[in-house]
Subunit: 367 residues, 2 copies
DNA sequence: AATTATTTGTGCGTATGTATC
DNA sequence: AGATACATACGCACAAATAAT
């Protein structure tokens, strides 16, 4: 034991570990064979194996039967639990099942499992979920932020994720203060533009917008709505927009609309935040004895089951739900396997498409 | 290698692990010395050490230089991952979102997270999922068996779950060979009875049944179907039943029905395995120029979204999806917290309810 | 206090099996 | 088919820690 009293296998192990950490041996490189090492270090092959087994256990190297021993591609990193957390606002409703389906498909193909959490769109629950995630060891996180338009009160939790080097990607919304973080979303501005433009092209002149005020999607869809109106030569009238919050969603839009209609407001088209709202809106309108689309056209958003199979087939924006989930999973996998130097693109935007059904009527005089 | 092709160290390791998990060796107990083991198992000390090193690495034992090797004090009561695996056939469609919602609600309330897996109703994937679950440490398992009516080819995996004392409960279906295992299900026999009885009471006399052949639900619903017919004084006619398998589901029922109708078979009511099939059936019937329910009544099963919001509002069986999930989670929690002596009830059956909508017509002459 | 037996830890040499190229 | 490389397995020797005599 010439080397400072340490054991032989320990010396060899440290030597190899040093080479790997320093970068002298790069991920994927082949180590000398066991016999070569045993000769070079003047120790028995058995002792070499002991050193290698420790390194393998710690995840620095990977031995392949009949081929050789290689520096692990994810050298230095923990071996990983194989679990990835997925936090969404809701589980069972609307687009989420398909979204989760897409995430699951990609992750399963790559040997991961998903840990599912949902926040009910509550900031408090989102905090709890994140804290739980930090306690368990997950290899990554896909999260749909709750009420993404409201100031982020728990930025610290995301900082912790960064600190522990747990990669995460946002889906659907994103916190505006964290725009540089990886996220995948629909181009909601374009979506809002498309439906509004469609109504204008069909000759509508009194278009009402109903938007959600507390997430980035609502803000973006409204932005597109305004853009289309102004391009069409209409001046923007704030009275022709109903804003609501998550907590209001089942009552406010319908109630306000009802009052507007009863007060005799003239409306020939309504752009709705999503299909659910559109459905509520149609119910309300028809209760007032007004018919859709003959008197008022209505557009939805998301192309959910309800749009295709409801009483009135909704003209809406196609939401490639499963694709969105799959892309999020793919981006996360890239982040997980990424070497710190290179950085993949952090934002991926899906272009929405208009799906035309039966909820809008052509109001042009001359055709 | 007399022992089933496994390596010697592996055999010894499993043997010792079994003793520790079963409680034969208690935490703090001393294992036989390496030399004793090598003599007892007729293997070299080197091989014994290999086995022990794995157990030490996994945290089952702790070696103390000069004293001996001891069962780890924290071997038995690993703190628990707080994760519970949920394996279903599908994720995004039909009743599953709500079911998972129910499971999630109860488990989240109790501080657990769910790891989601889906099998696509494939036995192979079910095996893979179970193997993965065995590798990760989960505190329990809720599983919807795939094709529960077909002989269980991987019983061994469930035995392993028993061995590692991972509690599990079946939902929806259950393997008939494992009836004594905890499971939660609808009383599908009663459900099948209810819809059929309803049609008979409305004066239907030529009732066709469409059932799935490869799960226990299909078999049970058919059983109720037969019971109602015979109680109503009709003899059972096998030609008035269409059986299909999971792989057939999108083509066979409609095709066979189409042929039957075109050949002039007289049918005034159809009991369908579920709402999806009922939906397909209605499409097929109406393509043939026959109207529902005026000429043929159709019943569904599950009371899914489609039943409430489709073209024809389906008379169906209410499936308390979220409740079912919640009950499964509650039963699992009982199993997890259960002291091995006392055993809670293993089977819980939910009574189904008939939901009457517009897909059946009263055919009685005198009212 | 020293000795001895026991037990784990380190290390060497050899042989055979099996996967890869 | 043969060379190479990792995987399993046996036997031996000695060191270091521990416990009992």
């Amino acid at each position: 034991m010439s080397d400072s009293g340490k054991t032989k296998y320990f010396v060899l192990m440290e030597e190899l570990k040093k080479d790997i950490i320093s970068g002298e041996k790069k991920p994927g490189d082949r180590l000398p064979s066991e016999n070569q090492l045993s000769q070079a270090f003047h120790i028995s092959r058995h002792t070499v194996r002991k050193a290698l087994s420790i390194l393998e256990q710690e995840g620095y190297i990977e031995a392949e039967h009949g081929r050789g021993t290689f520096v692990s591609r994810k050298a230095g990193r923990k071996k990983g639990s194989g679990n990835i957390a997925v936090i969404t606002t809701y589980l069972s409703d609307y687009i989420f099942p398909r979204l989760i389906q897409g995430i699951d498909r990609v992750l399963t193909e790559n040997g991961y499992s998903i840990i599912l959490k949902n926040t009910g769109n509550s900031r408090l629950k989102e905090s709890r979920c994140l804290e739980e995630i930090l306690e368990k060891d997950v290899d990554g996180l896909i999260i749909e932020p709750s009420k993404s338009e409201i100031l982020c009160g728990h930025r610290g939790l995301y900082d912790k994720l960064d600190f522990y080097k747990i990669p995460y990607v946002f889906i659907q919304g994103y916190y505006t203060q964290m725009k540089s973080k990886p996220h995948i979303r629909l181009d909601d501005c374009m979506g809002g533009y498309l439906v509004t433009k469609y109504l204008i092209d069909l000759g509508h002149e009194h278009i009402l917008g109903i938007f959600k005020a507390d997430d980035s999607q609502g803000r973006d869809r409204h932005k597109g709505f305004v853009k289309a109106l102004q391009e069409g030569g209409f001046s923007y009238d704030p009275d022709m927009v109903i804003w609501y919050h998550t907590e209001d969603r089942s009552v406010k839009p319908s109630q306000v609309l009802k009052i507007m209609l009863e007060e005799g407001a003239f409306v020939d088209g309504i752009v709705c935040y999503n299909d659910q709202i559109a459905f509520e809106v149609i119910k309300t309108i028809e209760k007032e004895g007004i018919s859709v689309p003959e008197e008022i056209s209505v557009t939805g958003y998301d192309n959910s089951f309800i749009a295709e199979n409801g009483m009135v087939k909704l003209t809406t924006i196609a939401h490639p739900q499963e694709r969105l989930g799959a892309m999020a999973a793919e981006l996360l996998l890239e982040k997980i396997n990424e070497i710190p130097d290179e950085e993949s693109q952090v934002e991926r935007v899906l272009k929405p498409k208009l799906v035309i059904r039966e909820s809008c009527k052509d109001r042009r005089k001359n055709r």
